[in-house]
């Protein structure tokens, strides 16, 4: 019997607009009857710049992930000067980590930022090294040495501190060793002895590619925990490349082919494919965050003709990094920071906040229509910090608590709420306690506020709390306690699917998710931040701007998919104390310290490909 497909062909959706949200499926065809185009979504891979190392270096050891990375030791120049310096990356900044007990470069390294292992390499006085060290996030501890001292181990390590793998080395070393957390044991040799290759994966499923024999090699071998098997070669032979992933899904980048490269290849378990997404900087002797994945890792430092300190981050996503951008929006009439926000990119509401003058605040509220801001009626009270996040809409807005009073400046903390109906503000129900500088999300009839500070006087009597209150449009009830007593976090989502992220005291990168009754910890946002904007939903959320104690005002935007954070387009100007509204695909950032009037509009365009017949 013939099938529908055999008689009619594949079904193609006939739509008046492009698919969006969770209907997006890579490779699924649909016809847009408005534009007259047959379309599909495509995956996009891209590199974008990260922070610079504090100390530029080549031949450092890489470990960790894009948001919790390590660069260990290396050569800081000018003529092969080895260092003990280690730096930790949080996705935004580098900070100094513990120092190696001895200066080294070209070590085999792997593991995570808080459980890394680094072995062998080269160090003064100009000799091969066998010593190995583990790192616990603060200091290095010497562990048993490799059985075979060797150098040229740049990126030749894989695995963890309790199941590590080291192979190869200079000159043409074939020896393979496994570490089980207490000692190194000899294993079957590589088929081709190579130094300065790239080892990816685990002790029982590793992939070792490239390197030098001493001639530059394209060879690729797979390890199953017992022996090495030849695989298909890299398309471009090279040494000192950096990669991450697994034996069945790996990405490698850069290195030296004889000339310095920015070429990127991906492995699917069988063969290597060169992809168009090249690194922005050609470089060799780079340190990869090799606990990352084939679709998300970073490389730092290296040699690009001279020693460099820049970082590049690799991302593969349906929402391409390069297709997200902030554009300038209309300027607010009253510049402010720490205001309260509601609504969407084209129908936003901003109220209250700090204005110029010593501790001065405003009761002014404004509406945005996607082009310009117009004055709305004022809040009943002057207030600021009455919920960081997006609460409600432009025609059904909500502010809750904050620091304020009937005049400005005011030292009081508030328990009162106000509701906006698109024209004017009216009193809402009172919260069970005062709350200031707290996270907020939800709607006017299903609001959620959490953590922050409580007390009676913003200058003399405040206490950080973890309490949560839920609003039903008339009264507040207590919900489950937030994960930490903190303030200046921001919220997004709904009363039954809410998210809180960041915090001030202590500086926090924590993410917590609320299900309508209790909070659970999610993955941390890259780097600590406070006074940031947040908008969107639990599975399509966004955070932008804010303040990091090391970096100052942030331009960074990160998106949340309900599990992981990904970096997105930067704001044009760093700002903290800003307000946000809208969705992940169409967000709005407004104001910020010191009383900024400027706004920016975020658009994340999923990469649509129009199929043509020519």
């Amino acid at each position: 019997m013939s099938t529908y497909q055999e008689l009619k062909g594949l079904k193609v959706k006939y739509l008046s607009t492009d698919t969006s949200g969770d209907r997006i499926k890579e490779g699924e065809l649909f016809y847009n009857s408005t534009s007259g185009n047959l379309k599909t979504f495509v995956t996009t891979a891209a590199w974008h710049s990260g922070a610079n190392l504090i100390t530029a270096r080549s031949n450092g050891g890489g470990a960790g992930t894009t948001t919790a990375g390590l660069n260990i030791g290396g050569n800081i120049g000018p003529s092969d000067t080895q260092t003990t310096l280690t730096e930790e990356y949080d996705g935004v900044n580098y900070s100094a980590g513990g120092t190696l007990p001895a200066a080294r470069r070209s070590m085999a390294s792997s593991g995570t930022q808080t459980a890394a292992i680094a072995s062998g390499g080269f160090g003064p006085p100009s000799q091969d090294k066998a010593e190995s060290f583990t790192y616990d996030g603060s200091s290095f501890t010497e562990i048993p040495s490799l059985n075979t001292a060797r150098q040229g181990l740049d990126n030749n390590g894989a695995g963890t501190t309790t199941a590590a793998l080291v192979c190869g080395g200079l000159p043409g070393v074939t020896a393979t060793e496994e570490y089980n957390g207490s000692s190194w044991a000899e294993q079957n040799n590589l088929n081709s002895g190579r130094a300065r290759g790239c080892n990816i994966g685990s002790q029982t499923a590793a992939l070792f590619c490239g390197g030098q024999e001493p001639s530059i090699s394209a060879q690729s071998e797979e390890y199953d925990g017992t022996s090495w098997t030849e695989g298909n070669n890299l398309n471009t032979g090279r040494k000192e490349l950096g990669g991450a992933g697994s034996q069945t899904s790996a990405t490698v980048a850069g290195g030296s082919t004889g000339s310095i490269s920015n070429v990127v290849e991906q492995y699917d378990g069988t063969s290597w494919t060169t992809i168009p997404a090249t690194m922005g900087t050609t470089r060799t002797a780079i340190a990869p965050t090799n606990a990352g994945t084939s679709s998300s890792y970073a490389v730092s430092g290296g040699n690009s003709g001279s020693i460099v300190g820049n970082t590049e981050e690799f991302t593969v996503s349906l929402s391409a990094t390069t297709d997200a951008a902030w554009a300038s929006g209309g300027a607010m009439n009253t510049g402010r920071s720490e205001g309260m926000t509601a609504g969407t990119q084209t129908a936003s509401l901003m109220s209250g906040g700090i204005v110029p003058g010593s501790d001065a605040m405003t009761n002014n509220s404004e509406e945005y229509n996607g082009s310009s801001w117009s004055e709305g009626n004022n809040l009943g009270l002057y207030r600021r910090g009455g919920g960081f996040g997006t609460q409600g809409t432009q025609t059904a807005g909500l502010v809750s608590g904050g620091n304020g009073g009937p005049g400005s400046p005011a030292a009081g903390l508030l328990s009162t709420a106000e509701e906006y109906n698109g024209t004017s503000w009216s009193d809402g129900g009172d919260m069970p306690a005062t709350k200031f500088s707290h996270g907020a999300c939800g709607t006017q009839t299903a609001g959620l506020v959490f953590a922050g500070k409580t007390g009676t006087n913003v200058n003399t009597d405040t206490t950080a709390v973890n309490t949560t209150f839920e609003y039903d449009g008339s009264s507040w009830t207590a919900g489950g306690d937030y994960g930490i007593s903190n303030n200046s976090m921001a919220g997004f989502g709904t009363q039954t699917a809410g998210v809180g992220v960041g915090g001030n005291s202590p500086a926090s990168a924590a993410t917590y998710e609320y299900d309508g009754s209790s909070w659970t910890a999610g993955n941390n946002v890259p780097s600590t931040r406070r006074a940031h904007a947040a908008f969107g939903t639990l599975t399509e959320g966004a955070v932008c701007g804010g303040y990091n104690p090391s970096a100052g005002s942030l331009t960074q935007t990160v998106t949340y998919d309900g599990t992981n954070w990904s970096t997105s387009a930067n704001l044009a100007s760093g700002r903290n104390g800003l307000g946000g509204s809208g969705t992940q695909a169409a967000g709005l950032a407004a104001g910020g310290h010191p009383a900024l009037t400027t706004t920016e509009e975020l658009t994340i365009a999923f990469p649509l490909k129009t199929i043509t017949d020519s």
Binding site: D323, A325, S328, A331, P549, T555, A572, P594, T598
Partner: protein, 102 residues
């Protein structure tokens, strides 16, 4: 070739820089002060589209040193204002940090 063009141009709001501009060239804004007024200082990716953008916005090109001086002046004003605040205010807000443009 230098990585950035530096200049001042007043952010006029909607349409001052577009999504396409942000995809075409790097753009990073800072608050500066010219001794009389606050000015918007921009570090613009040094390509043809970036250069045209600054010209189209009636911008005034600056050297990196001149741009840094404008930013430093604004930071100094902000730090002086912070220094004059009460201890309670200082306990709540950090002193504005120095900014080094790229």
């Amino acid at each position: 070739m230098a990585l950035f063009i530096y200049g001042t141009a007043t952010n006029t709001g909607k349409g001052f820089f577009t999504h396409q501009d942000r995809l075409d060239f790097s753009l990073r804004g800072y608050t500066g002060h010219d001794g009389s007024n606050y000015v918007d200082v921009w570090c613009i990716g040094n390509n043809e589209k970036g250069a045209y953008w600054l010209a189209e916005k009636n911008g005034v090109e600056k050297t990196k040193s001149e741009a840094q001086t404008l930013v430093n002046a604004a930071v100094t004003l902000a730090q002086n204002a912070w220094d004059a605040e009460s201890d309670e205010h200082k306990a709540q807000f950090d002193r504005p940090p120095a900014i080094t443009i790229p």
